[in-house]
């Protein structure tokens, strides 16, 4: 009972949502609208749960003195600080000049940006150390990468300034993007769409059991 009934509910809701795409009648569109409102609310609770779970996991790690537990204290303290400040601020917590906005602008924002800026360095070292042109395919990939990379920045046209406009690197790059790249990307889009649709079908037939596994 614990597994069959949720699967049936998922299948019915999935089928109903697909139906609501084709049937504008209010008998179908109003319940579908309500289901989406439910999804919005439950997903929001999901994020709150994610935060609470992080709190529990790290409390556990600190309690058991797992390796690197002092850093986990930093994590827990900063999490609680953010929650307490946000709770005190109330509905206007994202207004200009509130303490919550200060923590967002001065802690969350710079670190989130810098975390990904590291990749700029790694991409250069990977280009030097791990970019092997051994086959025709890898050669074509490298050629397209070089044309697009240089053609997309102003220095590309500066280098090929002498050529007529539609032979310059930026024009070639645009032709590559609009034609060969586009054809292959469309084939990938179609393939991916069929993949998502077959997952959708498995949900409707109640064959998609992945979210049930793990606990019984």
């Amino acid at each position: 009972m614990k597994r069959e009934f949720p699967l049936l509910v998922t299948a019915l809701i999935g089928f109903f949502m697909i139906l609501s795409f084709f049937v504008p009648h209010q008998a179908v569109s109003v319940p579908a609208d309500f289901l989406q409102v439910c999804a919005v609310i439950v997903v929001a609770f999901g994020y709150v749960l994610g935060g609470a779970n992080a709190l529990r996991v790290n409390f556990d790690a600190i309690y058991k003195r797992q390796p690197g537990w002092p850093y986990k204290i930093v994590l827990v303290v900063s999490l609680l600080a953010m929650v307490i400040v946000g709770a005190i601020e109330g509905k206007g917590f994202q207004g200009e000049g509130t303490r919550f906005t200060w923590m967002y602008e001065r802690l969350y924002s710079p670190m989130s940006a810098t975390m990904f800026a590291l990749l700029a360095f790694f991409i250069a070292s990977a280009a030097f150390r791990a970019f092997r042109i051994r086959t025709l395919e890898a050669g074509l990939l490298a050629l397209a990468a070089l044309i697009v990379m240089i053609g997309r920045v102003p220095i590309g046209d500066w280098l090929t300034g002498a050529l007529p406009p539609n032979l310059r690197l930026s024009a070639i790059q645009e032709w590559i993007m609009d034609n060969p790249q586009n054809a292959a990307k469309r084939a990938i889009l179609i393939g991916a769409a069929l993949g998502v649709m077959s997952t959708g079908l498995r949900v409707i037939l109640g064959l998609e059991r992945s979210y049930l596994s793990g606990e019984d």
């Binding site: 949502m17 509905k91 397209a144």
Partner: protein
């Protein structure tokens, strides 16, 4: 070339945290670990508060409470104003928290059932319309349009599309004509991966430019 560092303590905090994370480039060190755990903690706390104040309160709590005093009472439901019915997602949301306690964790399956059902339906129809039907429909283009270049591009596009699709064909061994077509298809795919590589390099580099612009202009005030 004037040099006047910012006086705002917030900018200093942001700059020092930025340098802590950049220190990972030299080698993994306590400063980086501190910044990383601070980041994970702050973002987890931020997600809790954001989703509570911007979704749980305005979309669930307020309409539910208001529905008792609103004209027509809590059961006067109509499109967009679901009043007492909002108790259902509220209960489902709370049921999610049973996952924190192993034994009764299975109750959260009801909430997951709703989410997976809704998104399976939305994604299936969304992908079917815009990534399947519209893409195929847009590929039906006249091959010979009089002038040379558009016709050449149209022919190239159709060949590329058909061969790339055949590359992802698994019901027959890739021999003979099918083998040839899939070899052509992989060439088109490689060009699109090359373009993807070039664009990804641009994205990553601009992230670094943004951070160094912050350090140079906002923090150190080098102008």
């Amino acid at each position: 070339m004037s040099f006047h560092p910012s006086s705002d303590v917030g900018v200093w905090v942001a700059a020092l945290l930025t340098l802590c994370i950049f220190s990972f480039l030299y080698k993994d060190n306590p400063f980086y670990k501190f910044a990383e755990h601070l980041f994970v903690g702050v973002s987890a706390g931020y997600y809790i508060i954001l989703n509570f104040w911007t979704v749980v309160v305005p979309n669930l709590w307020e309409p539910l409470v208001k529905s008792f005093s609103a004209p027509g009472g809590p059961t006067a439901v109509e499109l967009g104003d679901y009043r007492i019915w909002l108790a259902l997602p509220g209960v489902l949301g709370v049921l999610l928290f049973t996952r924190l306690f192993g034994r009764i964790g299975w109750l959260s399956r009801w909430s997951l059932a709703v989410i997976i059902g809704v998104y399976a339906g939305l994604k299936t129809t969304g992908f079917a319309q815009s990534d399947l039907v519209s893409q195929v429909q847009a590929s039906l283009v006249p091959i010979f349009t009089g002038s040379f270049w558009p016709s050449f591009n149209a022919v190239l596009f159709s060949i590329g599309l058909i061969c790339s699709l055949l590359f992802f064909f698994f019901s027959r061994e890739h021999k003979g004509a099918l083998g040839g077509a899939s070899k052509v298809g992989i060439l088109f795919l490689m060009v699109s991966f090359g373009a993807g590589y070039g664009y990804t390099v641009m994205s990553r580099i601009s992230l670094l430019i943004g951070r160094l612009q912050f350090l140079v202009e906002d923090w150190l005030g080098l102008r």
